[in-house]
């Protein structure tokens, strides 16, 4: 196969000018390493988030109000999801597949302990919250049914809140003030270890009644306090869709929505959440890697530039080769394969660098994300660098073929 015989020619020509070849490849090396690393980070991050979501259970449903679509308050949630809805959803006769229903009212508010204070996210909820959201306790316990019923001034806080206020996490029995009211700390949550999605480290939980009645100025809708969202658990993963339908039916009935009216609430399941997260991370990854791909284009232009210089420098050589019987296709292939070898080599070095980076990141303890480089990304990298060589090498190679051997041999 004659094609193969151009490779040693190309390698000879590249090794004859190592410094220049190295600098030329740098663009491709950086481009490939950047694209692979970013794809790897994207994949690592989304694998992380998906793990996190899966660890929180796949049977959970979250009901939240829709946002206003028009008028002054467009974009703000409609305030029609209430404690009345929560009570209705408790009825097992209409919701055989729904086992736990947990209302939440969340707001940002200042916690004060002695001279320390911290703005934090406080959620009024019920005892089942810990079960539905799979909270783990580091200290003490979660809110009890009894405390919910009596709207006691008790609070469960995350580790970040505890360390910010008390500089330690063994704080059960201590007291924090919210709006001047003292709340006794009954539990501290297990640290979730990352600041990312689903972390409760910077949160506080109080009985829903206390949140509604005393802490937040909660508006009412048709006589009931509104809630920020309602969490529910389906009996099993297979019954999630059924549970979703049952909940939807009840809420539509309670709102008197006609057959053609849209829901003014949204029910999201973990599955739909996973879809959304997947879409978001892949969009982000795509965006970042297209930025990295620009460096590949820049690298490719560098290749083209050097190949043009090389063609000019080797004008006599080209003339000689033609005089000795080289076909136009021989000259074309010679230069095309030279730029192909250049970019492939650059691509392979780039791959090695991104692998090195991935290994390095793995060795750093507690580094938030891994870089995951898949075989598909490798194939992509090799393909893209080869493509770069062929595309950006084509013009210089064509320039070489167009040289008139008489002129070329006379060229000084």
């Amino acid at each position: 196969m004659k094609l193969v015989r151009y490779f040693p020619v190309a390698v000879d020509s590249i090794t004859a000018n190592k410094m220049r070849a190295g600098l030329t490849m740098l663009g491709i090396i950086i481009g490939v390493a950047a694209v692979l690393s970013i794809l790897g980070v994207g994949r690592g991050a989304s694998a992380d988030i998906l793990d996190e979501v899966a660890s929180q259970g796949t049977t959970r449903l979250t009901i939240s109000p829709s946002t206003e679509s028009e008028g002054e308050g467009a974009g703000a949630p409609v305030q029609t999801l209430t404690m009345g809805d929560v009570r209705a959803l408790f009825d097992p006769a209409f919701h055989p597949d729904v086992v736990e229903v947990v209302p939440q009212f969340t707001g940002n508010i200042q916690l004060v302990a002695g001279s320390s204070n911290k703005q934090t996210r406080v959620t009024g909820t019920t005892a089942d919250y810990a079960g539905v959201h799979r909270l783990e306790m580091a200290e003490g316990r979660f809110l009890t049914e009894d405390e919910i019923a009596r709207m006691s001034n008790v609070i469960v806080i995350g580790t970040a809140v505890a360390t910010d206020l008390f500089e330690r996490t063994q704080v059960v029995g201590e007291s924090v003030r919210i709006n001047g009211e003292p709340f006794t700390i009954v539990g501290v949550l297990e640290e979730s270890g990352n600041a990312g999605f689903g972390s409760n480290d910077d949160s506080g939980f109080i009985p829903i009644g206390a949140a509604h009645g005393r802490i937040f100025n909660v508006p009412r809708y048709r006589g009931d306090y509104t809630v920020t969202s309602i969490s529910a658990n389906a009996v099993s993963e297979e019954r999630v869709e059924a549970a979703e339908l049952q909940i939807e039916q009840t809420l539509r009935l309670r709102r008197g929505l006609g057959a053609h009216d849209d829901n003014d609430f949204t029910i999201s399941t973990q599955a739909s959440l996973l879809d959304t997260i997947g879409a978001v991370t892949s969009t982000l990854t795509l965006l970042l890697s297209s930025i990295a791909a620009i460096s590949l284009v820049v690298g490719g232009i560098g290749i083209m530039n050097i190949m043009l210089v090389s063609v000019t420098e080797r004008t006599r050589e080209i003339g000689l080769r033609k005089a000795l019987g080289a076909h136009t296709s021989d000259v074309l292939l010679q230069f095309l394969i030279e730029s192909l070898v250049l970019t492939l080599l650059g691509g392979l070095i780039g791959i090695a660098i991104s692998y090195g980076l991935a290994l390095l990141v793995q060795r750093i303890p507690n580094f938030p994300i891994d870089i995951l480089i898949g075989v598909d990304a490798l194939i992509l990298a090799v393909g893209v660098s080869a493509g770069c060589g062929l595309i950006f090498g084509l013009y210089p190679a064509m320039r070489a073929t167009r040289l008139d051997p008489i002129e070329a041999l006379r060229y000084e």
């Binding site: 004659k2 015989r5 000879d12 004859a16 006599r316 050589e317 003339g319 000689l320 080769r321 033609k322 005089a323 000795l324 019987g325 080289a326 076909h327 136009t328 021989d330 051997p405 008489i406 041999l409």
Partner: protein
Amino acid sequence: MTGSSALIEMQDISKVYRMGETKVLALNGVSLSIEEGEYVAIVGTSGSGKSTLMNIIGLLDSPTEGAFAIRGQRASGLTGRQLADLRNREIGFVFQQFNLLARAPAWRQVELPLFYADVARGESRRRAVETLAQVGLAERADHRPEELSGGQQQRVAIARALVNRPSLLLADEPTGALDTRTGEEVMALFEKLHEEGLTLVIITHDREVAERARRVITMRDGVIISDSGGTAVAARSGRNGLSEAARSPLPQPIAIDHAEGKIYEAG
């Protein structure tokens, strides 16, 4: 021309270059025939048309008018690819500046025509080393150009020209870049090759080089003004045969720079 035994057959060859508005008549009705085994020198000043003649004989250029054939094969109407193959098979080039590849060992230089002739790698290496031995460089097969003297470099180039066993060795000022002694080496090699039966065409303006040839063709202003051994041509030629061309003035003015070099006539 078929049936002719001549290796090179040229009939009324004209070559016109266009340089913007001006036309340059580089060759004006040249007829020439070179037999197998001849040792021919083509001489003339710069601008005499000898380089153009060489390019046409070497199949690097095609005439504007007239017929050219090598080994009975007409060159007109051939594609670039066919011309390249014909060059590869029939013609060995030797240049004034050697035109060796930088950094490649001698055997790789010599192998080059075989690469384009699709000869397998092992075979081509063997033949390259063999041909190097033929020019007396058996010991230097692995030396790179910078490790060789000028004369040795030119011998590598000659080996490269010979490796594909061409019909014709075409040398353009082969001693132009060499000192007298190494030039002599190269000329002695040509002599030896001629005696072995190779057809040689040397383009030169060096009197001593030209005198070594068996036949000297002198060019001036695009025509042959003398041909020491051109009896065959004289017999066959038409209006631009040597005697007529030498006598008659040029039919058209030619825009060529005559400033450089004095006219040198051989024979």
